[in-house]
Assembly symmetry: none
Homo-oligomer: 178 residues x 4
DNA sequence: CATGAATGAGGCTTCATTCAT
DNA sequence: AATGAATGAAGCCTCATTCAT
């Protein structure tokens, strides 16, 4: 069993549950069954652990985002944007919750990727002839953020029916040819 | 100048900016220009400060919620629910951000009031003949949560145009008689 | 009702129960139903309260001691020394407990009066022809200290039978003419 | 050099000299030449230090008491009870003083062991045909407590002559066959 | 005489981090 | 790579004392 990996997983779990400041390095070490010193050998500092987790999350986001960016049909863009929430496996909930928690605090969030998506969605709305494409994009993305929040905080939340209802409202159901 | 009140205001400001754990009692005292001991004289503990702020927020929420609950016309219910975000004065942003941050962490949120609103909104959708009233209510409330989040994190956010767009989608514009 | 006096009585009670360091000026003020500031107006400092109580105790001790010192017959001296414990009214237990507690801590006790008594008792033993008068005196006084301790710590302690037994051992019973 | 042990010894010394509340954890750390944090690593809290010392004392008491309990001859019981004071090595004076100080304050003392001894001594007096065995036992034990007090407070106190005098009064001298 | 808001020094404790082994 | 004893800065909180009213 890889101890370095184990430490990261336990950290994620505890950070997501109690917040970063609410989690002590000692508790991580105990939970992982390793010495406290080992955390620092592998990750230099508590912040190092957070950074490693952030990078992990960023990679996952990038993959999801890239799939959207690669699409060419407006309806495909919107559909996948909405359905991207269903692509988050349950085991990643903690990771996302952690990242959301951090973003919520830090004034200056790294928004570069979010901006790219917003652009893409805006263009999709334009392509579909919506009147206020920018606002439509914001509305959609904010709404999805709200769904994400509900999903992460409420672990047994059934998100798919809600997303299907959204798809219907935007007339993006599978049976509609794009 | 009321020092007790001042301490609460400064606390709110710092808590919202740096989080509760990220804010020291000493920093509150310094910022408020009072001795550290005075915090404890007035609020017993740091947690006492948080509780006082929670109560403040709960009162404000209760007022907003009551207005919605008192309405009888379905369209009025939905319209006010959506527009309730515009009823939050800018000076209260910090308070809401703090409360949201706390809720985000604590597993067991006090959902009693939220449930009442969800019921009311569900009934409104039913009254308007919507097919999946419960899901419509969830969708709407989650979306509004997303808007709230964007608004609180992004202080110069223009929320009203987005809400007007939502009203239009639900055909709740003022010019429509309810 | 004299507040100054009241403060002193409450202080005694709390000091005896929780020790001087274990008693806060705030608790005294609360218990006495006066403001904290008043303690300091009347007694200048917490130590001032202790001093006032010490003086109170010293006066009582002096009276007891003087009675013994004034006696001329050896047997009378011993008898009264032993019976002096019965002269402590129940309401003074707290005062004595406090003084004992303080003496127990402070390295340098004011032993002047105790020495006078020890001299007197030693001479009494000498007058009665005891072989090791000094040691007899020490033995007696230490034993009485032990009785005092038991009496003060155990409020419903029956001290008189024990003292009568002591009297008998030293052949000091009332029926014996001195 | 064992730092954990060292901390305990220094604590004992300072507690006995200044009382528990009168001793700061910082002073212990300084005196022991270790960081303040180390106290808490080893003993969790200041109270933890006190508990460790209490346990140490309880063990020593138990050993002394067991020796008495194991005796079968009445005279042996009384003789050892009286002489047990001489079994306390000078280096343990601080420990005993500390424990006595604590007992003096705490209302509810753990008297179980003391009761066992009192029983044993009472039976010994009965075995020797004393009229009021219970009272004789109380008298003896209270007196011994008084001797202990004098001995602990007055470090260069000569306790043995006093105890020998006691032995003689009870006719327990070694030359007397039991 | 009396109040009670206010102070500030200092106490106990936590925790990220280092380092010898 | 791994441990765990050790550190020390900093945090929350208490409490005797002061002072304006």
């Amino acid at each position: 069993m890889n101890r370095k990996q184990l430490i990261l997983e336990i950290s994620l779990e505890l950070f997501a549950k109690n917040g970063v400041v609410g989690t002590t390095t000692k508790s991580i070490a105990n939970e992982a069954g390793v010495s406290e010193g080992l955390l620092f050998r592998h990750y230099q500092s508590k912040e190092g652990l957070v950074k490693a987790l952030k990078k992990l999350a960023a990679d996952k986001v990038r993959i999801l985002a890239q799939e959207i960016i690669d699409l060419t049909q407006p309806k495909d863009v919107l559909r996948l944007t909405i359905l991207s929430l269903t692509k988050i496996p349950f085991k990643d909930y903690a990771l996302w919750k952690l990242i959301l928690g951090i973003k919520f605090q830090s004034e200056l969030a790294d928004e570069s990727l979010a901006d790219v998506i917003e652009d893409k969605v805006t263009k999709a709305f334009k392509g579909l002839g919506f009147a206020h494409a920018e606002m439509e994009a914001e509305l959609l993305l904010n709404s999805l953020n709200g769904m994400l929040l509900a999903m992460l905080l409420n672990k047994q939340y059934e998100i798919e029916p809600l997303l299907n209802l959204m798809l219907k409202k935007y007339q993006l159901n599978k049976r509609n040819l794009n």
